[in-house]
Symmetry: D2
Subunit: 360 residues, 4 copies
């Protein structure tokens, strides 16, 4: 099979670099174009990633393949889309609002930006959770008169939470969720990103907009597609989002009130079996398990567990009963914010879209 | 006024060193004796605090006053108590169970250990919250036939939480609390303490016994003394306790369900006014405010706020409505775990006991 | 005595905030004007220091005095200098090259910027080391036709090194210096500063321009004023400068080849006595000791020692013989980079200038 | 080829766990026995590595293969050696002095302990540097009347330094070395290891015995085997060893005085070519390059470079001229302390011994 040509827009930022890494040696996709803002346009990708200002590069790790390094960085606003099966967009939200509809007139756009997440004809796909919501993309195409569409992935803090809540909602019902996140610094990108002066020996108790995103996105992701709209799940969600001195991997404490009483064993089984043998499990970026459940009370830890399943497994531990919420259970999860929650999560969405005939 | 003679037992450990610092230049107390386990006994305090094994000392900061440095470290099991107004105990729980009753036959013992916290004739005093519980110490004396008594302070993670819940319970009633802690490394002491290998670029999701302590202690502290027993407060409390790469200062996210609806302004006022002008406010270790409320959403941060009020102020921020708990509000607090939550908190208890005629 | 009016330019940056803190309650100086780049001009200082973009402020610690908070931030390029005894400049080097000569036409400028450090009529004052070089400022005035002058302080990494080398050079002669720095993150400021992603679990082996500055400045500081020029000291200096995950306090390993053989005891005495009773020792910002020598091999540590002497003492330890350099000794030093090495160091220079009749 | 049976002694410590990881799936060796101190004896390896005391395990990463996990942990003092081709010893130095000679009566012992490093009939092998020194092992056997021998690897801080100095000494001669290390926390093991309280926001300027080891070992490693003894290299070496908040990977700044003047290009080429095509390069644990030279001044960084070549490549950067030492050059290196400098370095030694007919 010939690989499908894709583009990475915002290729020089941290999220974009993660996309380059996630697409390296991909069995279905090859990077045919890279684009960024005007400042980088005209350079080769190698030149654009080298740092002229004294900042450090190379964060996303790995060496650039020579043919990728030699690609010219195009101006994002004028990048042609002909011949592309898909555009991966990793630009900031403001840029996304401008650029993504332009690409979507012609080709599908899978985006890490939040710009379109909350529009009614836009699904928030996490393939093991809600692949069926992809049907909404045809609605989007038709309503907007586009050949393509925009399909953003959720916020990185939402992803691990939704993966863990999905089997609970399905098996037991879900009424309420209280979540506290301890988020990694990479989630803030690099410019400005989190300053060492703010995070060494410290916790930052606020991430602008994050709690609202999580609270809103969980309902949509776990919702039901009815006709041409998603009916949000009714579980109430309350979050406090903080930043800690961790490089990669978001840790979240979750207190969940279930729809019916369930033993911890039932919960453990529901989590561990989630998505096993489902259609998403055969995608190239799928991990062996979507959820790994630990009995060791010292797990999950972001440093030890973030790379589980190539960064695509959500690791859960500290399963306990909760005395506050009705039918309450509590747990701790770790999810890789720039892999499952960003670059590799976006690639997984493109994979599922291809299997459903929505790509290329 | 002549200062009252006190002893510090466990003086060579991290908590003991913090007690030495908290008692330096105290207007009411002077350290007359220091004691530790047999290994240190016979040395001067200066020698015992110097490190023969390659570990690093000096953590608690400050220079030892010469007369303190020259004190002989006595064997804890055989330290005389005559002439002492009070023993401050900072030993491990197992040692506390052996040693503290021996001292208490003769003199009051204020302890940072958990050994006696849950016994029915033992109060858990936080002076601005429940000084009246000190009346239980007479019951303890009488029942046990001791001249003194044992009065432990709460777990360091409980303290800031109880200080914040107390005005909420009083003003609005309190039904439920969901708390996640991000605790500092100093809470684990130094031997073994938290290893750098476990906490750099990491979060540890478990602290043995901590959640149970918090859940149990809050009810007792906020309870009502009736006759000769404390009737625990009925609020349900559910906690997840974690460790982060912070040196000092516990950060806690709190979601609280109140007894009646209250606006955020009402809550802010109740918190900010807590204890103002109360009897505990004139104690030597009392801060200008027991609770400081920030509007800046980036506060509280442990590095910036832990030293507020000499480490005795609990700093609160991010006050928001909560959608999950009935009449729910949420906030973030920072409390200094080795000052308000340990050494200085113990000294404050001794101060309030003296004003109530229970000391010396 | 009425306090002298001074201005702080670049008041909203990290270095400027440190200057505000260093001048708070100063016995000789009062801040009469504050200035910054156009973006902040027109706001009050309180407004300018509050953060409109989601970054965190308050780093320099301490609360702004109300009268300071209410000062208007003036546009640096048009700030009047009449009535000022001195301008403290904490702007970037490019801005310094433009602004400082304008101010210096009328008033003395004490600067933390490097722009003028290497000009022949400009001394690099460290008061306990080379106060006599201040005589060069009259030369500068005369040559440039200014009423004031520009006197920059050295690079923050140079300061502690020069303080330690000065007594060695004086007592024994100094032929060669090999230095490796492990520098704190605050030295890089905040925008961009050092990103958490670059420094957590890491060492950055390069700080642009830093090694050249150190190598060049040491010779000038230790040099001899002859007629109207400084003859640099001839010691060869070789440095490697790195960045580590420390908030404040530069650590430097120093290997020094002396002019004659000296025992470690002789070296210890020369260091410990440095500047004792000298004229700089009676300045308001002078610490009790310019150099503190530790025998404990685990000292100095930046976290434990950076605040020694209010951040103005250089702490030395690990004094050993060195087998490579002729008459070699080696040691480790810690110096506070934003206090002795920046804000408080600049204030100390202004203090010494005043005692020499060069200010106001 | 049937794999050779080997034992790992001290298998439950941090270094031992690294050995288990380094030997997993090794093409030549299989772990037939594991041993530890009495406390672990009698458990399976899985049980012994699980943590009964609240410390955290799993540091060395990777899952234990089932057949390895089921191995009984034997008492080190009584472990039989029959059938073993080699014992890998990762015990503390005191235990090594007792145990290693017992094993060596029968079988070769490759050790990470320092106990025997400085004895005249003991080489310090780094295969790309001094494989020829292995001939000394026959001398050792004969003198001590052992069938086996003890061959320790160097200190982890020595290894990267010696690898970099070897090509310099060979190509240009080497007269003097001034080195400052910034060492990772894993080098101190886990019990006690480095406490978070000592290293967060800090540098520790002292590691007991480390500098003496480095200074002594470099001479032996670079020395010449003459007859039955190694004549040490005469280069003078002076080191200052410090600890920083890095998990893995020692960073060292090196100032080297060469035997003759050499351009930076000559030095770069000598380093980059080191060992290429040599006999050690075909060993299973050999990396593609022993030394990787970077032109990017921001490299090497321990977090980015420690895993180069599977942790077996020494990464060099910041090559510059040095003004102090005669024919001086300076550079920065990163070397993986628990891979090249410990577990994988020991396995590499066993590999070279096998190719020289000294094993099994």
């Amino acid at each position: 099979m010939e690989k499908l040509a894709v583009a990475v827009v915002g290729a020089t930022g941290l999220a974009g670099q993660q996309l380059l890494a996630a697409l390296a040696d991909h069995p279905w996709f090859r990077i045919a174009r890279v684009a960024a803002s005007g400042r980088s346009a005209g350079k080769t990708l190698r030149e654009a990633l080298a740092d002229p200002t004294g900042a450090f590069c190379g964060y996303a790790g790995g060496a650039l393949a020579p043919e990728l390094a030699a690609l010219p960085v195009e101006e994002a606003a004028s990048m042609p889309t002909s011949g592309l099966a898909c555009v991966f967009s990793a630009v900031e939200s403001d840029a996304a609002r401008q650029l993504e509809p332009v690409y979507a007139r012609d080709v599908p756009v899978v985006s890490t930006a939040s710009a379109f997440r909350y529009e009614p004809d836009v699904p928030l796909l996490i393939p093991p959770v809600n692949s069926g919501h992809a049907a909404l993309l045809d609605v989007q195409r038709r309503r907007r008169g586009w050949k393509g569409y925009v399909t953003p992935i959720p916020n990185c803090t939402t992803t691990g939470l939704a993966v863990v809540l999905a089997p609970l909602a399905e098996a037991f019902g879900l009424r309420s969720v209280v979540m506290t996140s301890m988020q990694a610094c990479s989630g803030a990108g690099r410019s400005p990103g989190v300053a060492a002066l703010d995070i060494v020996d410290n916790v930052i108790p606020f991430i602008p907009g994050e709690e609202e995103k999580v609270q809103r996105e969980v309902g949509k992701i776990l919702g039901r597609l009815e006709g041409e709209a998603i009916v949000p799940h009714l579980a109430r969600v309350s979050a406090t989002c903080t930043r800690v001195a961790v490089l990669e991997g978001h840790t979240e404490t979750v207190f969940a009130g279930l729809g019916r009483a369930a033993s911890l064993d039932e919960v453990r089984v529901a989590l561990a079996r989630f998505g096993q043998g489902g259609p998403a499990s055969s995608l190239p970026s799928a991990p062996a398990r979507w959820i790994e459940v630990h009995d060791d009370p010292y797990r999950p830890q972001p440093r030890l567990d973030r790379e589980a399943g190539g960064g695509m497994t959500t690791t859960v531990g500290r399963l306990r009963e909760d005395a506050v919420l009705e039918n309450g259970i509590k747990l701790v999860l770790v999810s890789h914010n720039t892999k499952a929650g960003a670059a590799r999560g976006a690639v997984l969405v493109a994979e599922v879209l291809r299997t459903r005939g929505l790509l290329g």
